[in-house]
């Protein structure tokens, strides 16, 4: 039997390369702040998985659109209850409760005072983030950037504007994508730069 001689330098070099490779694989996500557990989509997908992802994206996108549409479609004559009913039919349960208890009562007196009636055109710009919500039973959630075009400005705006960007958070609840709320750019940037926590 022939004996193959391998220089010790080669052995050391191979070990160093293996070590560096393992370190990079383990360390890069940590440095970026995104652990393996938080990566929502695997690097490679089977055609079936890709199809599922596409369906999810379509449903999530639709939830973002109808949520924004329900939120910005206001008619003071139909009343707060009609607005809340429409919004609650497309929002998460938590969102529905907060719109009823907090957001609606705060907005609606201004609508009535200014006799506000607005329609809205919602255009999707891009999906900007997707994560898993571990406080909602590991439900998938996505953030979509939308363009909002209001027919008229709202009375409580700092400065009247009818065209602006919005970030809509949608969450899958009982298998169905629902609108939760709007995020601020600051919230999104911090989350995203931090690695999409949680």
């Amino acid at each position: 039997m022939n004996e193959i001689m391998v220089p010790k330098k080669w052995v050391v070099a191979v070990l160093v390369i293996i070590g560096l490779g393992a370190g990079l694989l383990w360390g890069v996500p940590k440095v970026l702040g995104r652990s393996q557990a938080n990566v929502s989509a695997p690097p490679t997908q089977t055609p079936a998985e890709e199809a599922q992802t596409g369906q999810d994206d379509n449903a999530a996108q639709k939830a973002a659109i109808v949520g924004a549409h329900a939120f910005y479609t206001v008619d003071y004559q139909k009343g707060q209850q009609a607005w809340l009913d429409q919004l609650c039919s497309v929002s998460t349960q938590t969102g529905c409760i907060v719109y009823q208890k907090v957001i609606g009562p705060n907005l609606w007196s201004g609508f009535e005072q200014a006799e506000t009636a607005t329609t809205v055109k919602v255009t999707v710009q891009e999906k900007v983030d997707e994560q898993i919500s571990d406080t909602r039973g590991n439900a998938p959630m996505q953030v979509w950037r939308l363009q909002i075009e209001l027919s008229d400005p709202w009375p409580m705006q700092n400065e009247p504007q009818t065209i602006f960007s919005a970030l809509a958070l949608v969450i899958q609840e009982q298998g169905e994508w629902k609108f939760e709320r709007f995020l601020t750019e600051e919230e999104l940037s911090v989350f995203s730069s931090a690695g999409g926590q949680p």
């Binding site: 609650c88 349960q93 529905c96 409760i97 957001i103 700092n158 931090a194």
Partner: protein, 451 residues
């Protein structure tokens, strides 16, 4: 590893909460009049000032299009016998207070939890998972509380660690759980500085510093007040299982009973009384005698005692006579309503609507009182003020849970002393709630012969 980190985190949080508790239970501490030695709250000694909400510009939600909604901060407050104010913020209010300790007045409190960072650790800490803790470590924070302090100091952003859903989750918690005892904030001398405490001066016990109170003496004990807790109930009394009126041929609806009983304020004050002087013999002969007339003295006197160095006037003893006043706290108004709960509204619009096309909400709210029944309110001779009302056949048309809520407004208490009406306790608002379930019959089609 995750479990280990969770255990460590829990230990940190428990330590944050437990260590101050031991300190505050000390009798020398102002917390001594609030907490029992085991850390439980001495509710029986506290005057319930009710719930108060106020606009708070440090508590807001930003919406697209340049809209900033200022939310209302909500507190439940109690007054201690010595005039300190105990404040229980709602969970959402507490969260924003911790984020803005100076603007919200949190920094002025003698808080048992120490500071805003500890409160954020208490509120958010339990929801942090191992990945979030690892993330904090990459940001240079081995102690979550250090991160929360950096948030308060404006060096870090709270949204870099909490979930996208956290804001709405904690807002929802504020309504679903009522006032969880997340944190007790104590404001010393709350009466004197009520303008600067959360909730302001409304409903606080009268401030006597302007002299408009029963005079106090340096010898007698200071006046004190006490009052047993009020009893408020609002509940459905019949039928056992109310059916939506749309499915009930009799349109029975449900009967709601409300009752209120407010014990009197027990106001105890002391009048300083001095006995008349006596004319007493002085063996040394150094007395100044007892000038007439003899009616001045509490003992026998004759003319020979005047200018007599073997007698002198001895002042009478000072006594403190206790007066206990039973002051009724009249009920001025009772308001009650029934509101379809947000969860049920959501269920009708989503779950039910998916099975029954165009299911909709018929009437989500009823203003029960005043309006749907007379209110009988009075104060009895024993000082107990009561109110009750019976609202029959409320026509609930939607299935689900209705929140029954009642607000009771009082006139406070007044003590008439020397023809002067002295306010002893201020008017207040008391609140209670219960729930009522309304049922619906749903039809399910089953295939014939199915096993």
């Amino acid at each position: 590893m995750k479990t280990f980190q969770s255990v460590i985190l829990m230990l940190v949080i428990i330590a944050l909460v437990a260590i101050p508790l031991r300190v505050v239970a000390d009798d020398e501490s102002p917390w001594g009049e609030i907490l029992n030695p085991d850390g439980s709250i001495r509710w029986d000694l506290l005057s319930d000032l009710g719930t108060v909400s106020e606009s708070a510009d440090w508590m807001d939600i930003t919406l697209p299009g340049g809209i900033v909604l200022d939310l209302d901060a909500t507190y439940h407050r109690y007054q201690t016998p010595s005039g300190n104010i105990l404040v229980l913020p709602s969970p959402a209010t507490l969260f924003f207070m911790a984020m803005h300790p100076v603007e919200s007045g949190l920094a002025d409190a003698n808080s048992m939890l120490g500071n805003g960072a500890a409160i954020l650790a208490m509120l958010i800490g339990p929801s942090l998972n191992s990945e979030q803790l690892a993330q904090l470590a990459t940001m240079g924070y081995t102690d979550p509380q250090a991160f929360f302090q950096a948030v308060i100091d404006g060096q870090e952003n709270i949204w870099s660690i909490v979930n996208f859903t956290y804001l709405f989750d904690i807002l929802r918690m504020s309504f679903n759980s009522g006032f969880l005892v997340n944190a007790l904030l104590l404001y010393l001398n709350g009466l004197e500085d009520c303008v600067n405490i959360p909730g302001g001066c409304a409903g606080l016990v009268a401030d006597c510093s302007d002299g408009n109170c029963v005079p106090e003496s340096q010898i007698c004990p200071a006046p004190s007040i006490s009052q047993a807790p009020a009893a408020l109930t609002i509940l459905k009394v019949a039928p056992e299982n109310p059916l939506v009126v749309g499915q009930d041929p009799e349109k029975r609806g449900a009967d709601i009973q409300v009752s209120v009983s407010i014990p009197p304020v027990i106001f105890t004050w002391y009048k300083q009384v001095q006995d008349p002087p006596t004319c007493e013999p002085v063996d040394s002969g150094n007395g100044e005698g007892c000038p007439g007339p003899g009616s001045l003295y509490d003992n026998s006197w004759d003319l020979s005692m005047e200018d007599n160095p073997f007698y002198e006037v001895v002042e009478g003893e000072i006594h403190c006579i206790e007066h206990v006043e039973i002051l009724p706290e009249p009920i001025t108004e009772v308001q009650a309503n029934a509101q379809l709960s947000p969860e049920s509204r959501y269920w009708i619009l989503n779950d039910l609507a998916s099975k029954y096309y165009e299911a909709y909400i018929h009437q989500p709210g009823f203003d029960l009182l005043p309006g749907m029944a007379p209110i009988n309110a009075s104060c009895a001779g024993n000082g107990i003020c009561t109110a009750d009302a019976f609202v029959p056949n409320v026509p609930f048309a939607d299935p689900g849970a209705f929140d029954l809520r009642m607000w009771v407004y009082t006139a406070g208490t007044v003590f008439n002393w020397n023809s002067v009406a002295i306010p002893i306790t201020q008017p207040r608002v008391l609140f209670t709630q219960d729930a009522l379930q309304v049922y619906v019959t749903l039809v399910t089609l089953l295939p014939v012969g199915a096993p």
